[in-house]
Symmetry: C2
Subunit: 296 residues, 2 copies
């Protein structure tokens, strides 16, 4: 029986060590360094970097080849949380069990800390030691994949749609588009980059992208469900906030039962996408189940 908890602890530790090392090399003892450390090392679940490393393993590669890309994904995820939490956006005061960046520091620092983490993500990717032409081209491609996923045709447009949706009810198709962009794009990029850096072939990449799209949406459906019935202490953030803000969510559109069923359907599809892989895909299979069973 595959032990996901052990696997995630182990991989998170590797990612946390690598992130701490990146911050250490970058820091100059300034306030911006303190704020970057505060938000990046606040104990997130590290799902994107773990997916990135697991994708590398799944296609038979060495996860250490993808570690820098995994760290970049977490930096970009954290930057997006810092900016989304700003008063002008979601105006959240609690994140990962701690005051949000603009509460702990101030709004200007929070804007700049997000900017700095986004920029640092690209810096570490571009600082990979290049031994041969293939590697340079690969890391350039990783840069492009991440930029497309995080940019105005991906994550940023998802946040724009999320902001525009406040106070009005989206239909299911609109809700799915919003989540695919806001959360799905970066999750897909995490798996894509991990597999690419481990030398995946085209068929493997296509399977992993299908897996990514399904767990990406399942992840969001589960998030919506947790916002209704989760335990705020375990989650480190408030619950019931979506309803209070009249946000369009799966529970609001489908009800809780049908939302759970939809999440399970997406998980089944994700597992189907992994059929051609051998036991090295066990971490990804277990992660698909974890995503809808998690409590935080």
């Amino acid at each position: 029986m595959f032990d996901l908890k052990h696997y995630m602890n182990q991989k998170s530790q590797i990612v946390n060590d690598a992130l701490a090392n990146i911050l250490q090399n970058n820091q100059q003892g300034e306030t911006i360094d303190v704020a970057m450390q505060y938000s990046l090392m606040a104990g997130g679940k590290r799902i994107r970097p773990v997916l990135c490393l697991a994708a590398a393993e799944t296609v038979g590669g060495n996860p250490s080849d993808a570690l820098t890309a995994a760290c970049a994904m977490e930096m970009i995820h954290t930057y997006s949380l810092i900016h989304d939490d700003l008063p002008a956006m979601d105006n959240d005061e609690l994140r990962r069990g701690k005051p949000t960046c603009h509460i702990a520091f101030d709004e200007a620092t929070a804007v700049l800390t997000g900017d700095a983490l986004l920029t640092l993500a690209f810096e570490v990717i571009a600082s990979e030691p290049i031994n041969n032409s293939t590697r340079a081209a690969d890391w350039l491609q990783v840069t492009r994949i991440i930029a497309v996923a995080a940019g105005s045709r991906g994550m940023i447009q998802g946040q724009m749609l999320d902001m525009a949706a406040e106070g009005r009810r989206l239909n299911l198709a609109e809700l799915e588009t919003m989540h695919n962009l806001k959360t799905g794009a970066l999750i897909e990029a995490s798996l894509h980059c991990g597999a690419l850096l481990a030398g995946a072939n085209k068929a493997q990449l296509a399977s992993l992208k299908s897996y990514a799209r399904n767990i990406g949406l399942a992840f969001q459906v589960a998030d919506d469900i947790l916002n209704v019935e989760g335990n705020p202490k375990m989650m480190g953030k408030a619950v019931g906030t979506d309803r209070a803000k009249q946000k369009s969510t799966y529970p609001a559109l489908l009800g809780l039962d049908d939302s759970r069923q939809f999440a399970r359907k997406l998980t089944r599809r994700a597992l189907q996408a992994l059929q051609t892989f051998d036991s090295k895909a066990e971490p990804l299979r277990a992660l698909a189940n974890y995503i809808i069973e998690r409590k935080r």
Copy 2:
């Protein structure tokens, strides 16, 4: 006699066409696209991209080799202006003669538009067609140079220092450090990347970096002077704002006359750094003079 006005018009046109083309390829008809277009095509002076192209010419290269890097510099400069103008930072309502992004749209859109331009800058760099290993490695190096210059050890730290300086008087050394980071780093990166992509050797790069550091600071001294005695109509933004905000500036520390003299000294040093170059450096020489003589 070298005609700088003609040169700058010609190069700005090339840059504007390339930027319009980038936005065209990126846009999907969404609000974020309108906002990116609004701020990026608002008629800036395009000094950073022109410096980037001129650096490529100076070392004997083809400026078209550096055009994408030049565009990336302008996108990053524009993103930094959008974020600096936010209410939580400088709270400016006028930029390049038009309402700032958060006034024309809203604050959330302005944060995301800045994020999107920063991300797009890295995307276009990483999307350069790679014909051989050297090129891939070069573009990866350009990515790194830009990220370092724009990040928390460069431009972002400059803005942090600028924010922290409000209401207290900096000394000359602190003021210089702030400007070297806030403005100088990206100007230096513009020249560095342009020359690198044109195949510059180490001695050429060192000369151009020395030029960059001197005109970068001269540019800022001139900006401070313009904020005192400039014509708001020509500049497209308010004047007297530094004094109203009790910002530390060269005129405040040195007086207007000594500030002008300091700018001239920096310009002389910049010209000295170009001594080893032939007539292909005429644009850079003319630009050094323009920077302290400009009226906007």
